[in-house]
């Protein structure tokens, strides 16, 4: 029997073009592969922006659903990742806009427990709370850089701002976070 190596070498553009195929199995392969490729990054972004895992999963699903519907008509896309991120960003912003109009009950604040050591869990919670203290623009830039690993140029493209603005936002975000987290970083010896 053949030894398995689970890799898919289709490019994003090829997978994107598969989404508009009339053959269901081809479209499913395209969508499933793109999902596997980008869902983690999109999910992380959504989770950090909205601060709720369940909501982030809904937004992730909605992002890919809208992406699929658009792709059925577009036929081609140059920057699939950017396109996906743009949809996700809109989803998150819409959610936050609607959310601001609602009363957030304390018990709805989710504390994510994934069987981590207590100290690590505590640090992650502090990190989340510190991120919440940042202005939205700074937080978004920080998430895209640190969680999604995007370059300054990619962040600038994604946020439709100049490179200098990205640098400023990142600088201020990190400086602020460092101020908040410094005591914990020393104590917890990460």
């Amino acid at each position: 029997m053949h030894s398995f190596k689970q890799t898919t070498t289709y490019s994003d553009a090829e997978l994107f073009s598969m989404l508009s195929s009339n053959r269901t199995e081809v479209a499913q392969t395209g969508l499933a592969t793109l999902y596997d490729r980008y869902s983690q990054r999109i999910f992380t972004y959504c989770r950090k922006i909205v601060g709720n895992t369940t909501v982030a999963e809904d937004l992730l699903q909605e992002t890919f659903a809208r992406f699929f519907e658009s792709a059925r008509q577009l036929r081609s896309a140059e920057n699939v990742a950017g396109y996906l991120f743009a949809i996700a960003r809109n989803q998150c912003l819409n959610y936050k806009t609607k959310r601001r109009e609602e009363l957030i009950l304390p018990e709805e604040i989710e504390i994510i427990s994934r069987d981590r050591p207590y100290e690590q869990q505590e640090l992650l919670e502090i990190l989340d709370r510190a991120l919440d203290l940042l202005p939205d623009d700074y937080r978004e830039a920080f998430i895209l850089r640190e969680y999604n690993g995007m370059s300054y140029n990619e962040i600038a493209d994604a946020l439709c701002v100049t490179l200098d603005i990205v640098k400023v936002r990142l600088f201020r975000a990190k400086k602020k976070l460092r101020e908040i987290l410094a005591p914990y970083l020393i104590d917890l010896d990460v």
Binding site: M1, H2, F4, K5, Q6, T7, T8, T9, Y10, R23, T24, E25, V26, A27, Q28, T29, L31, A32, Y35, D36, S39, Q40, F43, T44, R47, T53, A56, E57, L60, Q61, F64, A65, F68, E69, I112, R114, R116, Q120, L123, L124, L127, R145, E146, Y147, S151, Y152, K167, L170, F171, K174, K175, L177, R178, L181, A182, L185, V190
Partner: protein
Amino acid sequence: MQSLEHLYAFMDGELDPVFEKQLFSELTINEDLRSEMKDLLSMREAVRRDVVVPSLFVKDRLLTTVGLAGTSAAITTGMWPTVRNAFSGWAAPVLGVLVGVGATALALISYQPINDYHTSAQSLAAQTDIPNLTLVLPRENSAPIFSANHLSKSSKHYSNLRSASVASLSSENGRLSTKENDLSENNDINSQEIIESDRSAIASNVNVISDQVSVADNSAQPKTSKIHAERDNAAINADDSWQGVSIRARGLFNRSFPVSNINAESNSWINNAAFGALFKFNSCFAAGVEIGMERFAQVFGSAEGASEVWYEQNPQMLWAGALVQYKLLQLDRNMDVHLYGETFAGAAGTLGFLGRQTVGLNVTPTPALTISAGAEAAILPYNFKGNWFSTEKFGFTLGLSFTPEGLR
């Protein structure tokens, strides 16, 4: 401030190389900057650990939402074209069922009842004109007859034989019954042994030959009926319950290798269920057919020009085929608790052939009901563009078999 900006940019891999030397120099003399760098590294480490993966349900929900659920992913072109055409749709499962039915029918036609004291006794009755002749042998007394030709004096059966002192048959009031007989130490069961009965003219000769017992009528030679000894040494009264048709249902709790996340969350046990019918030839052997539904995760690929393209799918497939079940080890006779083995051969939809091996425990608290639990392994070999791949499944199964009164 500029050093700090350079440090942040450097940490992000975005610092212009012309500033690197300046930054390194600053780091050697600026303790605050080094401390800042250390904190940034710690913060990054914390971020790196903050990984939460989305639920597997999201992907299936997505595929359902956009109308792509339930399809087999990835087989885009030319999968096993010849075989696929030949086994398209329901052909493979139907063929599996036909093979199973054929095998069962063949087994039924060629079946020669063994271990059937009742039949033999009736036969004997017909030959001797004694109506309603039945064979009455207490279980312990049937034991020595079982393997008389292989019995050693040290065996438990031989001890039983001696202690029970029962080895002959006789008729009393129209019933064939055991007759006590004294066996001396020197009696060698391996040899042919004729045990005389002083009770009746019928069945007065009991001849132990191999694993059979021959009963002869003294007065009406050569009327002879052979009573086949039971290989398994089980209770005679249970003989009748061994034969019959069982209807069974079972759940399969297993996992595919390679592991697939596609549709994995819908892999509930109801998607891994099987139904079958078995004909039990005797206490040791049964054969039948089974049909079921399972998911089979597949990862396969082929060379596409200069690159290698891999596909993944986890389709839910109907499978069917024939099986044989056999007793491996008797653990308890009262409830017929025994280890069994089961070998299945069939096909899974259009994917390929399916083989399954099960080892488990059967418990039969009543003749009508058997409870089964076992561990099993299955393999689904398939071919894609000239390369062979396989899906292996490992897990366990729980099942119930019913043998209705009318089918016994």
